[in-house]
Amino acid sequence: MMKDSEKPGKSDMSEQRKPVMIFPMIQPGFTAGRMGREVPLNLPAITQSFVVDTLSTAVGMVPVVDSRLTRQDHVGSLKARFGIGRMNYRVDPGLYALGRPDESAPVLVSANYKLSFDCLREALPGRTAWILVLDTNGINVWCAAGKGAFGTEEVVRRLRSSGLEKLVKHRRLILPQLGASGVAAHEVRKQTGFAVSYGPVEARDLPAYLDAGMKATEAMRRKNFPFRDRLVLIPMECLPALKPLFLLTLFFLIAGGIVQGPRWTVEPTLNSGIFMTFALLGAFFAGTIFTPAFLPWLPGRAFSAKGLCPAWIVVLILLESRLTFPLSLPRVLESFSVLFLVPAAASYWAMKFTGSTPITSLSGVRKEMRRALPLQIAGALIGLGCWAAAKLLRVL
């Protein structure tokens, strides 16, 4: 049994008894003292693959990182973009050194999604800085700020546990501007004495921002959504849509082969089944690839409307290939089916892209969905109805 006086956390404890034993190299008594509650110092692991060196400091061994990304970093980024291990692509939260920063080096705050962290250090070749990585559960700055994980509380907590106030003589943090929806700058200052400056939206503007004495131009403050930014998001639009696409394709291929009898034959599978498969693939392409890529040029404001234009092009191509002579009723019905199914599916998939863009509001999405979702469901039902009617005519 511990005696009362030996229990950690007692506030009236004498100075030499303060139990801080998270890292053996930190002497007892070394806590982020002045800034309020005592928080044990905590440094990120130096065994992480991207740590190139260590910096011996007053608070312990700070992992050093480089602005050059290695092949491994690039492969990791690519995998994350394609959803492989994406939810666990993290770095240890805490303090890092970019190069060999001194006591006047700027402090840059980031999220512990490795893509965010890499993006930041890659933007700063030949510069030194302290990088304070917040624990955002491996989520990027923007999304984590929206959810509050990249928030005032975490900035304060991480600042205290980093021992940063012993390493820099200034009292300023530079946060990414997109973190502002989670962090109240005045609150951070009140609680820690550190002033918060919001840096540019894009990490690549950081050098210019720093050189201008931490002044961002208006362009640096605006979040744009250029072609390239939309393109890298496309894989994560496609992948979640693959499962329904596969199941529907399977359904149409199997059901397509049912003929009079009823029995199952190959010829109609190849004919009607493949036709429906192309229709689905067309809707998939229109909604998850074409719409994100060409977003600014598609007519309409609502995403569900933007998805219609490419869908109709797909429908035209399908009808052109299907409505050939001699016409039969099942064929016409099948064509009617894609006339409804393809726009409904493409519109739905296009609407899902709202979540990946920096231009939509929740109120707007709610309004769009109130109108679009019933129409999409109706379109899908009518399409399936036509297809089922065509099927019945063939089977009976």
């Binding site: 403050r221 979040k223 250029p226 709202t354 920096p358 231009i359 929740l362 707007g364």
Partner: protein, 107 residues
Amino acid sequence: METLMYLDNVVTLRLDEEKCIGCGMCLEVCPRTVLSLEKGRARISNRDACIECGACSRNCPVDAFAVGTGPGCATAVINSMLGRRGECCCSLDDGDEKGGGSSSCCC
């Protein structure tokens, strides 16, 4: 480059210009240039560009803003309608979720 615009007349952003002290913090954090500073006071000059991220409201030292924030994400709205919430970032927390920051993303 012209700003990509979403729907008109839906945004919930409100500014109490009486409260404003003209510090300009909201202009600094807004990623969509929704606000401007006129005669020492902030003004909503491009309301429809607002994406309800809440950065202005969060960083306003005098609480002059009111905005219903949340992800402008159809998947999140669908997940909420289906009752899926909590373990996924693609859900809306309407204030009844505890913690709020303990989500892991799946979208």
